[in-house]
């Protein structure tokens, strides 16, 4: 048994960028994920954060092999799954499942909750112990829904309840790894907390590993053991949650953390904050050198010419910056 459930080595995913209509040839490429290294240990939650367009969702989807990686290596439970075909992936997919952001579009409106959840069994040809229906009922009560509602349709549920259905579906095959792509960002605050607690409980009960993709840093800080900060397809900084939030070394991490509004007027108004200028550059034409140099207040000549190496700052913390704090 491998120590890490998931290892990404130098993973890249480029999409062809088209200029103009459908019939024009691809011109250049969108460097959505550009050389990402990360690991998820068994039972660990790794938070993947960054602004929209930083490639965090693409990492999640490439791990699931919903996208074919351009280069690099994906090791799942010690096995190299980078080059596996759809057919070869099928038995592995039952061990890695995904929870999606939008609880409204990720459930088929024409299927009952029972058939949505049990389709996992049908697809993988698995006959669960005690029969399909009982297993589905069990899953429903596990995620805090009424098992009597097995024959209802998705529209009869609220957003938070639908997200629970999505979680039940992901759990049906007893996976080892769950990739959760913004699982709570579409939910109201009071409902968010319920779902976060549910994910916590399920992890304890089943020893699940999570790759938790989110832009909301306070949720990520709450749920993750380690955090990976991405910017424009690259990993800027990585480290244990507590260390990273208390002493960020990368200027981008620092700016990102200081931009998060704090739900406490005294702290929120007194603390120093770094307001980044401008917007995320286009991933079709990323800046040369360090991709963050166009918005960084510490940028010098070397930042514009040379890509910074990822260096180990403390045993568990790495940072890709020429001038770490």
């Amino acid at each position: 048994m491998a120590e890490n459930i998931l290892e990404l080595h130098n993973l890249t995913k480029f999409f062809p960028a088209r200029a103009g209509g459908v019939f024009t040839r691809a011109k250049g490429e969108v460097r959505a994920v550009d050389g990402v290294n990360l690991t998820v240990a068994r039972g660990e939650t790794v938070g993947l954060v960054g602004e929209s367009g930083c490639g965090k969702t693409t990492v999640g989807r490439t791990v699931m092999k919903l996208y074919e990686p351009t280069s690099g290596q994906i090791l799942f439970d010690g096995q190299d799954i980078t080059k596996l075909s759809r057919k070869e992936m099928k038995p592995i997919r039952s061990k890695m499942q995904m929870i999606f952001q939008d609880p409204f579009s990720s459930l088929n409106p024409r299927h009952t909750v029972g058939s949505i959840i049990s389709s996992s069994y049908t697809i993988h040809g698995i006959e669960p112990e005690g029969g399909v229906e009982d297993s589905v009922r069990e899953l429903l009560s596990l995620v805090g829904l009424n098992p009597e509602h097995i024959n209802r349709f998705p529209h009869e549920f609220s957003g938070g309840q639908r997200q629970r259905i999505g979680i039940a579906r992901a759990l049906a095959l007893k996976p080892m790894l769950i990739v959760a792509d913004e699982p709570v960002s579409a939910l109201d605050v009071s409902i968010q907390a319920q779902v976060v607690n549910l994910l916590d409980d399920l992890q304890k009960e089943f020893g699940l590993s999570y790759l938790f993709v989110a832009h909301d840093l306070s949720i990520v800080q709450h749920i993750s053991d380690r955090v990976v900060v991405m910017y424009l397809g690259k990993v800027m900084e990585m480290g244990p949650t507590k260390v990273l939030f208390e002493s960020p070394h990368h200027p981008y991490t620092k700016a990102l953390l200081s931009a998060v509004p704090v739900a406490d007027p005294k702290i929120g108004r007194s603390r120093e904050r770094i307001i980044l200028q401008g917007d995320l550059p286009s991933p079709v034409n990323p800046p040369s050198g360090c991709v963050f140099n166009t918005r960084c207040w510490k940028a010098q000549e070397i930042c514009r010419t040379t890509v910074p190496k990822t260096v180990q700052i403390t045993p568990q913390q790495t940072v890709a910056c020429h001038f770490p704090e």
């Binding site: 602004e51 929209s52 609220s158 938070g160 309840q161 109201d188 605050v189 009071s190 409902i191 968010q192 907390a193 319920q194 976060v196 607690n197 916590d200 832009h215 840093l217 306070s218 949720i219 800080q221 709450h222 507590k242 939030f245 208390e246 700016a255 990102l256 953390l257 200081s258 931009a259 998060v260 509004p261 704090v262 739900a263 406490d264 007027p265 702290i267 929120g268 108004r269 904050r273 307001i275 980044l276 401008g278 917007d279 995320l280």
Partner: protein
């Protein structure tokens, strides 16, 4: 001294096949010049609906509105709910303005940013087309769009999300409105851009002494920019106080629950989140009593079933701000002890 906008007993109802949706019930709030009022609540709490009524943006055929909303303008007060659509239209953009959550759907994709800002300016100003574009360029510069001379001719799709939101703010402010209603202005944006936009709104408020109503569900944003806060639940205001009142002396179980369910970033603890059990109520069948009662852990402290029998008044029980709860003053002032 009366506030710039005073909303009193505003009710907004949408008749539907399934029954009347009571989206806003006896809602009263006010905001003064230079002040920021935040209206906080979850989806379906009635926060947007009330303000759309103030702006006169509901379809009069499909909506029943009662109550009053008075703008105290320099040349006398105007009551907006009973005023003719024409009167309200002449105030929109000039006396009061609104920015929306999703800048992509609020901007017209076929017209350049400059033309859209100039259109708003031409409504209240005489000038040539070039004057309009000149004004639009000035506004884009004011909201911090780099290279405004060139960007004024761009179309919305050429702008990023944050720039579109800035363009929309520029459009809303082109006629120097006294009241700006911002409906979730930063919800669609990344945190780094969000902090830019919030800073911009604060700077512009200082410069033009605007009254701002900020509609949001994000307590972090509220804590940083609001002066006063109204918390809404089930179409009613359940608590109304200063930002310190709400954050440090919450006097409604719902407000407390909301504060407790936000993960704290600074305290760095991995405590379990305290949640509010259950779901928000349906606005079609609002309970006869307090709308929060089915989810409230404190209802059992109130004797004689008052919580299920009738809706509590929004009143000051002697603590200094308004709360809509049946708990007595002692229990209310003890609520803060349960704050995480």
């Amino acid at each position: 001294m009366s506030k710039f906008l005073e909303v009193t007993n505003l009710n907004v109802t949408f008749p539907t096949e399934d029954g009347d949706v009571h989206a806003s019930n006896e809602v009263s709030y006010s905001v003064g010049l230079g002040e920021t009022l935040a209206i906080v609540g979850e989806s379906g709490s009635g926060k947007s609906v009330s303000n759309l009524a103030v702006m006169g943006l509901h379809n009069p055929v499909r909506t029943k509105i009662s109550g009053t909303a008075t703008l105290n303008l320099a040349d006398g007060p105007v009551e907006l709910i009973s005023a003719s659509p024409e009167t309200v239209r002449r105030l929109r953009g000039k006396a009061m303005s609104m920015i929306f959550q999703d800048p992509m759907s609020a901007l017209h994709p076929f017209f350049s940013i400059g033309d859209q800002i100039a259109e708003a300016w031409h409504l209240y100003n005489n000038g040539s087309k070039d004057d309009g574009i000149k004004k639009a360029t000035e506004m884009l510069d004011l909201v911090g769009i780099p290279d405004p001379d060139r960007r004024v001719h761009d179309y919305p799709h050429q702008f990023s999300g944050g720039m579109r939101q800035r363009a929309m703010i520029a459009m809303a402010l082109v006629n120097n409105p006294s009241l700006l209603i911002a409906d979730e202005p930063t919800t669609a944006l990344d945190v780094t851009v969000q902090s830019q936009i919030l800073q911009l709104l604060k700077d512009l408020q200082r410069e033009f002494n605007m009254a701002i109503i900020l509609i949001t569900h994000d307590l972090g944003v509220v804590a940083e920019v609001a002066d006063r806060i109204c918390v809404m639940y089930g179409g009613r205001i359940v608590e109304d106080g200063t930002v310190e009142d709400i954050f440090y002396r919450p006097e409604h179980p719902y407000t407390l629950g909301l504060l407790n369910s936000v993960p704290r970033i600074i305290r760095g603890s991995s405590h379990r989140l305290r949640t509010i059990p259950g779901q928000p109520p349906s606005l079609i069948n609002l309970p006869a009593g307090c709308a929060f009662e089915p989810r409230c852990g404190y209802a059992k402290k109130v004797s004689s079933g008052a919580c299920t029998a009738h809706v509590p008044d929004l009143s000051d029980k002697g603590i200094g701000h308004l709360s809509r709860c049946h708990l007595d003053v002692v229990d209310l002032s003890n609520l803060v002890k349960d704050k995480a």
